[in-house]
């Protein structure tokens, strides 16, 4: 019998046009046997949460390089709660200063991967986080 497939949403919220990192991660997750729902640039927190629910994803990865991470992560987490979907874990990537990382972890972001992060680490982290 085939094993359960992990479905991961990779999204870029807010206004920044740099999706190279998100694409690299999406491809790495695919190569690790996961199904990656890729929604492209300039997503609103509302659309990300709605997508996560319809696609029934196991985790959400947000890539932010605009500096608006504190606001955007918080909003996505709030909306997930409103929808009763706070059980979907969130991780992040992009340019996030150290002091903001601790804030993000406090509000419920599981982990933030910065520049130079190893895709293998991201893969094994997601597998661990989703109990697989």
């Amino acid at each position: 019998m085939p094993e359960r497939k992990l479905r991961i949403l990779i999204a870029k919220p807010g206004l920044d046009g740099h999706d190279r990192g998100a694409k690299v991660v999406a491809r790495a997750l695919m190569d690790a046997g996961m199904e990656v729902i890729y929604t492209g640039l300039r997503q609103t927190p509302e659309s990300i949460v709605e997508t996560a629910i319809q696609e029934d994803v196991d985790a959400i990865g947000l890539s932010i390089l605009s500096g608006a991470h504190n606001h955007l992560f918080k909003r996505v987490i709030e909306l997930l709660k409103n929808e009763g979907a706070e059980d979907i874990p969130i991780f992040g990537g992009g340019i996030v200063p150290e002091e903001d990382v601790s804030y993000l972890k406090r509000i419920g972001v599981k982990r933030v991967f910065g520049p130079g992060a190893n895709t293998e680490d991201i893969v094994s982290y997601i597998k661990e986080m989703t109990n697989k």
Binding site: K5, M30, E35, Y38, I53, Q54, E55, D56
Partner: protein
């Protein structure tokens, strides 16, 4: 387990999107969950109109689906979309990117979009597509649009699932003989020539026209050819009209009923095939399969003889 599935079904039927999302996941994971869920929701299905959009990769299927969803929403109809992308034959992973083109509908409460990977199924759909259509139907969608995987020549299973099939072509993809070949060009009830503003569109239309003239007219429906322009409105509206005409034709000619019967037959065969394969894997483990493979490779035995020998063992599983 069963009781929590019942709970999910109840929630889904009462309009809970998360429950619908989870039901589709269950159907994708395991055919026995599918069997249970479909048996519960079947009386609620059969109401939605099912539209299939197929065509080669990059031909603009997702953009066309996006425009069509807008057309249906303008008439206040509730729409479900299943968008299929390929699974890697090497890693089993997939990048599902059809949603990118459908972003204008992400937060519309009356649109539900689900991306699916083929997970090894050939034919342009995934094993769970037909069952997921039933879930979207029971959820109360008026229209369900299926976007197939980027189709080559033989990904034609959509014809067994959809009421209407739109084949999307783009200019400059091979000559006349490509249009005459068997397979995908035979299944269109409507042809959309997308990106019709680039060179070669008229030639493409002419070739499809010629192909249609050489084909037998099927039951009084002559497939129209519509020019579309990606995500622009003109063209999309004409395509929408053509789709509505075909739907009307299906209802008035009685073809709709016949299609439903044909779909029932196809469902039976498809489910049986999958059941056989599942039972086969239950009866024969990977090592034995490897051994049998070796025998075939070394010409010790041929595959038909091996199957003959296996049949008595498979019987007790049925």
């Amino acid at each position: 387990m069963i009781s929590s599935i019942d709970e999910l079904i109840q929630k889904m039927v009462s309009g809970d999107k998360r429950a619908l999302g989870k039901i589709i996941t269950l159907m994708e994971e395991d055919s026995s969950s599918s069997a249970y869920i479909v048996s519960k929701i079947y009386p609620l299905t059969g109401k939605a109109y099912i539209l299939g959009i197929t065509g080669p990769p990059g031909s603009g299927k997702s953009s066309i689906v996006d425009k069509l969803v807008s057309c249906y929403r303008n008439e206040n109809l509730k729409v479900g979309v299943i968008a299929i992308d390929p699974t890697s034959p090497f890693t089993g992973g997939a990048i599902l990117g059809d949603r990118i083109r459908m972003r204008s509908h992400y937060t519309d409460k009356n649109v539900f979009i689900r991306s699916m990977a083929t997970r090894g199924t050939l034919g342009g759909l995934s094993r769970a597509t037909s069952d997921s259509v039933k879930a979207l139907d029971a959820f109360g969608n008026d229209v369900i649009i299926i976007e197939t995987v980027g189709a080559g020549q033989v990904e034609v299973d959509i014809v067994k699932v959809a009421d209407t099939v739109v084949v999307v072509s783009v200019p400059d993809m091979g000559d006349t003989i490509q249009k005459l070949k068997a397979g995908i060009m035979e299944i269109g009830n409507i042809f959309a020539v997308n990106k019709a503003d680039i060179d070669g569109a008229e030639k493409c239309i002419l070739e499809i026209k010629m192909m249609l003239e050489l084909s037998e007219t099927k039951n009084g429906w002559v497939p129209p050819i519509v020019k579309t322009f990606g995500d622009r409105d003109n063209g999309a509206n004409e395509l929408y009209e053509a789709i509505k005409n075909h739907h009307k034709y299906l209802l008035e000619s009685g073809r709709q009923e016949k299609k439903k019967i044909a779909r029932g037959k196809a469902d039976l065969i498809y489910i049986l095939q999958n059941l056989f394969i599942k039972k086969f894997y239950e009866a024969i483990n990977e090592e034995e399969l490897e051994e049998l493979g070796k025998k075939i490779a070394s010409r010790e035995k041929d595959p038909y003889t091996i199957i003959e020998e296996l049949i008595p063992r498979l019987k007790k599983f049925l």
